[in-house]
């Protein structure tokens, strides 16, 4: 290092590296692909390599060089298929998020109140599924949910049902798959906030006349809000674009936007339309993220 650089300058240099490295990462791996997809969404599909028209035609006159088209977005509005899969995706992701919250909150709360070293063990159990392939685990669910599967044969053995239930290829199976897969993403941020919660605050509320459920509503939930919001976003965002779970566990009526996107890209090879689908999805997701940001800033103002 240059000995003429004084320590203050060197510190500033390091600070710059530390701060801007993540930005460079985001620029390279998020913004650049986004710009490419964004660009393709304004092109026309072509039977060529790449399968879309260029946005700029250098050979044309100056006035007509720019060849962008809104046809793809227009088509999204026209064809009911896209609306239906967007809305269904939102609905499935929303319900799955609520289910994850209902399931994850008590689990996170119980873990946060468990004394060490049991607490670490329980946390380990939460992240243990990540150690095997996600795909493998979904296949395992398929095996369990089939008509000859574990669950059906168990239910028949204890005499609860006479004929096997159709569980696989239903919406219920999709919810089960999404909740099963994403509940750790709900539990971990919830645990992080609930663990920090000062138990004196619970006692103080009780001391002032709050019954246990009032303590929960007045103290626990408001203070766990950052964790609730973070957990919900961590579940909702990947769930809305989920492809594998509805494809493997769902039926024909569980077509989600991820599948539509896949079909446009790889079956119809209509890259511009697929890009438009992706861009719209992104804007649907930006909305809750912006709401979250606003919520986060509120307590400080």
């Amino acid at each position: 290092m240059n000995p003429n650089i004084n320590p203050g300058k060197r510190d500033r240099l390091w600070r710059g590296v530390v701060i801007y490295l993540p930005y460079a990462w985001l620029l390279l791996f998020f913004l650049a692909p986004f710009v490419i997809v964004f660009k393709i969404s304004f092109a026309d599909p072509l039977l060529a390599q790449p399968p879309y028209s260029p946005l700029l035609d250098w050979t044309a006159d100056i006035g007509s060089r720019f060849l962008a088209t809104l046809d793809n977005y227009g088509f999204l509005l026209e064809d009911k298929l896209y609306w239906v899969s967007y809305l269904r995706s939102i609905k499935i992701a929303f319900i799955a998020t609520v289910l994850c919250l209902l399931l994850g909150f008590p689990m996170a709360y119980a873990i946060a109140r468990t004394p060490y070293p049991w607490r670490n063990f329980l946390l380990l159990l939460v992240i243990l599924p990540f150690w095997t392939s996600f795909l493998l685990r979904v296949y395992a669910w398929m095996i369990m949910l089939t008509k000859q599967g574990l669950i059906n044969s168990l239910l028949m053995k204890i005499g609860l049902i006479n004929d096997p239930l159709q569980m696989l290829y239903t919406n219920g199976a999709v919810y089960l798959g999404i909740v099963y897969t994403y509940v750790p993403f709900m539990i971990l941020p919830l645990y992080a906030t609930l663990e920090k919660l000062d138990l004196d605050l619970h006692d103080a509320a009780a001391d002032l006349g709050a019954k246990p459920w009032q303590v929960f509503c007045d103290v626990t939930i408001p203070l766990a809000r950052p964790g609730i919001i973070a957990g919900c976003l961590l579940v909702f965002i990947p769930a809305i674009g989920e492809y594998v779970i509805p494809a493997l566990l769902g039926g024909l009526d569980s077509l989600m936007i991820g599948r539509t996107l896949y079909d446009e890209f790889f079956v119809n090879r209509d890259w511009p339309l697929a890009s438009a689908v992706a861009i719209v999805l992104l804007f649907i997701l930006i909305l809750p993220i912006m709401l979250f940001q606003q919520q986060q800033q509120e307590p400080e103002s």
Binding site: D198, L201, A206, L208, G209
Partner: protein, 384 residues
């Protein structure tokens, strides 16, 4: 400071515990709390009278916090009863007790403004909004927080947060206010101020205060009575001056400030006065003693540093115990000085004196030969 306590309707006399016609306000009967194989509170009985500022004092782990938490309703006693105003509250949940608590951590709700924190208890009572507003306004004035009503706790200093916690606990007009280490987190100046504010407030409101603390100075300055607690039991209960001047045993004597302890055996015992021969040296010390102690009983004699007189000339007088020594160490505090004197027998005795003479020079220097003396009434006889 306890003299400043005015009589309240609840406490017609200044020392109701001495008046057998008085009905205790809080009655704790044979209370125990066991956690697995650990007994935190061990068969305690205690009467606290209306309008008292009662302090429970002890080191960490002595069970004082568990006792307070049982009074508040956060812990269920393993055994025993708690009565307030004659009503058994042992099995009442915390939210139904006529008791409020100020937490050591203050436990101010971080997501609510000062005003909302203070109003919380009344909201749970479902009082009309107008009454809540009126009472909040009044109590915020009392603790001088009116200008900060709209602030969130993270915008307040520690002292301000404490006043929020106090206002929040007082607004429900509890019969008993529990305070857990109320001064521990404050700096020295603020402590003194808050201490007097608490005493004044208690005088004004006539609420019975039960304070838990590990700080003997805090206990002495606040309390009408102190219960000294050790290993889940009360060692001594009395007024601050009683526990300071007449400690029941070595533990209490040592807990409250400094004390010089001499070990010996009773040599002679006459009416109210015993003579103790010290181990090793054979020096005789006289002490007032109400107990009849037989000759040969092993006892400890305690003498507080400020009860000792230090002088260059040999003092004389009836009932004085005199010993000689050399100033080994001294510390000048301005208003007073502390000397560590090595006596002829080789042990170090601590003396504290008021610097009542004005002088730029030290009146006594290192290695000065001095006489130490004290009156036999100042010797504390400790049998346990």
């Amino acid at each position: 400071m306890t003299d400043s306590h005015k009589s309240t309707p609840d406490a017609p006399s200044d020392s109701p515990w001495e008046d057998s016609t008085q009905q205790p306000y809080i009655q704790i009967r044979n209370l125990s709390k066991r956690f697995d194989d650990f007994t935190a509170v061990d068969d305690i009985s205690l009467d606290i009278y209306g309008g008292e500022l009662f302090t429970i004092l002890g080191g960490s782990g002595c069970g004082k916090s568990t006792l307070l938490r049982m009074l508040a309703g956060f812990e269920t006693p393993s055994q025993g009863q708690i009565l307030i105003d004659g009503i058994d509250i042992t099995n009442l949940p915390a939210y139904d007790r006529p008791v409020n608590m100020m937490f050591q951590s203050y436990a101010v709700f971080p997501h609510m403004t000062v005003e909302k924190n203070v109003a919380y208890g009344l909201k749970k009572e479902k009082l009309p909004a107008a009454e809540i507003k009126e009472r909040v306004t009044k109590i915020l004035e009392l603790v001088q927080l009116t200008p900060l009503a709209g602030r969130k706790p993270d915008q307040l200093s520690g002292g301000q947060q404490q006043r929020v916690a106090l206002a929040r606990a007082l607004i429900k007009q509890p019969k008993v206010l529990l305070l857990d280490e109320p001064l521990a987190a404050l700096d020295k100046k603020l402590r003194e101020q808050t201490q007097f504010e608490l005493i004044n407030l208690q005088d004004q409101l006539g609420i019975t205060f039960v304070v838990v603390t590990h700080d003997q100075e805090e206990a002495m300055t606040l309390a009408s009575r102190i219960a000294v607690m050790d290993a889940g039991k009360f060692v001594q209960i009395g007024t601050p001056s009683e526990v300071y001047e007449f400690p029941r045993n070595h533990f209490v004597a040592d807990f409250f400030g400094n004390i010089n302890i001499f070990e010996g055996a009773v040599k002679a015992s006459t009416e109210g006065l015993i003579s103790v021969e010290l181990k090793n040296t054979g020096t005789l010390i006289e002490a007032r003693c109400d107990q009849a102690l037989s000759t040969g009983t092993e006892v400890k004699i305690g003498v507080r540093p400020e009860k000792l007189l230090i002088s260059r000339e040999e003092p004389s007088g009836e009932g004085l115990t005199v010993t000689r020594g050399i100033v080994e160490d001294l510390a000048y505090y301005g208003n007073r000085s502390i000397y560590r004197v090595r006596s002829q027998s080789g042990r170090v005795i601590q003396v504290s004196t008021q610097n009542y003479q004005r002088s730029a020079h030290l009146l006594l220097e290192w290695d000065d030969e001095v006489f130490l003396s004290w009156d036999s009434s100042c010797s504390v006889v400790l049998t346990e």
